[in-house]
């Protein structure tokens, strides 16, 4: 589904990704771990198309209509319409725009891109009600402004709800576990597990093994200085947890 080949990217003239390779297939869960500043969050932003980052080398091949296509030059909204979703580490507040309106506008713009008729408000409300079972949120959630005045946990839950509603093929979860207490972590993880299927792929970006107790990865990659330096199975996370990145990278 996604094949990143020798990807190089920079922000503000500084090279952050220095020849990164990664292959993700449908139905897989990948975890990307690494110390602070290794380029984990940058990788997620580059895949989603953040305008501050520019790709200076390599390719990001993503399947569009069953054909691998380099998405490096696509606008972020075009990538989103093709099923790429980034759950933000720091979700942005959009005051005055209700969650309902936001979700419906996003959903319909993706639907329209796929050539389907947009849903009416009533149809969307029915669809949304089903998705709301995946993750529990306050009853007044839908009428409130997007992320405005939300607690850290609520913001992260909102990201997972958006993921459930938009049903992406490739989801990148950028430190979704950060700042969550154990209860919220469980809720968020259960949500992700319900969304997970053999047709979609999930990339978890995290510092800690903790998240991986709840969402079981198939592969673990260690990112260091802009490159993936080691790939392995779930056991790799335990090893990292035990020895730390320093011990591991020596």
């Amino acid at each position: 589904m996604l094949e990143i080949k020798d990807l190089k990217a920079e922000v503000d003239g500084k090279e952050i990704l220095k020849g990164l390779n990664l292959k993700v297939n449908a139905g897989e869960v990948h975890a990307i771990m690494g110390p602070n500043g290794s380029g984990k969050s940058s990788l997620s932003k580059v895949i989603a198309g953040h305008p501050s980052y520019s790709v200076t080398g390599g390719q990001m091949l993503y399947d569009i209509n069953f054909e691998p296509k380099d998405i490096s030059e696509m606008d972020p909204d075009e990538r989103a319409k093709e099923g790429i979703f980034l759950a933000f580490q720091y979700p942005v507040e959009v005051p005055g725009v209700s969650n309902f309106n936001f979700l419906m506008t996003s959903f319909n713009s993706i639907l329209e891109h796929q050539g389907s008729e947009p849903l009416t408000e009533e149809e969307f409300r029915n669809y949304l009600n089903k998705k709301m079972n995946i993750i529990s949120l306050r009853p007044d959630f839908l009428e409130r402004g997007v992320n405005s005045g939300f607690s850290g946990g609520e913001k992260k839950k909102n990201e997972i709800l958006q993921m459930a509603v938009l049903a992406p093929r490739l989801s990148i979860l950028d430190e979704t576990d950060s700042g969550l207490d154990i209860d919220a972590l469980k809720v968020v993880s259960e949500g992700v597990n319900k969304i997970k299927s053999k047709n979609n792929a999930i990339v978890l970006i995290t510092h800690y093994q903790r998240l991986l107790d709840y969402i079981k990865p198939d592969f673990i990659h260690v990112l260091y200085q802009g490159r993936i330096v080691k790939t392995g199975g779930p056991e790799l996370a335990l090893e990292l947890e035990k020895n730390g990145y320093d011990g591991f990278l020596q």
Partner: protein, 483 residues
Amino acid sequence: MENKKTASAGPLQEDYAYKYGFETQIESDAVQKGLNEDIIRLISTKKEEPSWMLDYRLKAFRHWQTMKEPQWSGLKYPTIDFQDICYYSAPKKKEGPKSLDELDPELIKTFEKLGIPLGEQKRISGVAVDVVFDSVSVATTHNEELDKVGVVFCSISEAIKTHPDLVKKYLGSIVPYADNFYAALNAAVFTDGSFCYIPKGVRCPIDLSTYFRINAKETGQFERTLLIADEGSYVNYLEGCTAPQRDENQLHAAVVELIALENAEIKYSTVQNWYSGDKEGRGGIYNFVTKRGKCAGKKSKISWTQVESGSSITWKYPSVILQGDESEGSFYSVALTHDMMQADTGTKMIHIGKNTKSTIISKGISVDKSSNAYRGQVKIMPSAENARNYSQCDSMLVGSKSSAHTYPYIDVKNKTAHIEHEATTSRISEDQIFYLQSRGLNMEKSISMLVNGFCKDVFKQLPLEFSVEAVKLIEMKLENSVG
């Protein structure tokens, strides 16, 4: 804000930018350009006015000649040659009683294109409309529901003849001709506008609306609106305006006066979409308007809601004089400027009565090279015990060349007053846009969603259909200027 794409501003796109920019080909009856006592007499004669009306106009004109154009706003525009403007232009009409069936089909078509159906069958339900085309009111949709409860809704020209006592009593009582340069000019040459009287205890069963259209070239529009809400009455009033796209500037200098007697409530909403000029700032309407309401009676309420999205220059401060005890005034405003537009708008809340309350919510959005200012005054007179005011003035900048200014004047002469003022200026951040884009919304849609969210507190004050219209209008304006 960083932006990789640049929108091409081809002629097609500009046409799309202002879909009301067309001109109606219609024969008109106009007086020659220029302003002097003879022209004023001619206008008065054409309108078959009583002599007291002509006297009023002449007094205003003589006073106007002693006045100077206001300079304090800092708006930049070439000197207006008041002798180079036509002060009266009316579509030629057939003889006989005015009825909608006899209206020129071109006019009916024009207003249909503008989304104001005048035909009997297509009329918007729940709203009575007075349409003003250049200098005259061409039609008022007649409504039995209004007759039943005794609401008077007609053109001001008609009211001068049919309700002279009310007009004499209230015209110029809130905005005297000596008030300011443009108010004096308006009093001298106003040609039409709407008149409305809501009798005691009547809750106006439908919304009232006036639609202003400037069509003729080199013609100024000077309309006058007078709205009186008698004791315990209620009315919801809507106003819309558009004009053809022209390279020359045109002057629009209106006066609106509202009077709310004891326990009466007036809600006045405007969506102003005059032609705003092209990308280089050529053409567009100079919108120099004086709007003021008086809460004359105890517990009366006046609320101004405005969406100012057009005109090359807007100079407008809808105000409320809070004379009655426990009266309430409010001002909700969204002003969007783009390209080379300049807006200087705000309000005055003059607290005179005891326990009076005012609320000001102003949202300014500046795009491109435009300049957007909030200018407001809160004045608490010595008699206004326990007056309260809450003001919130937020500015949003889109792009790096636009500017926003806030000039709040607070003048308190009574120590019991409670005044709160909040102001913010923000810029749409790249991260906000990226967040929305990563959810499948394109750049334009993302920006308009952010702007609409920013304006929500004002839009929710508008009647539903107007609010939907306002959201669409802002989206359309942004789509064409943000790229």
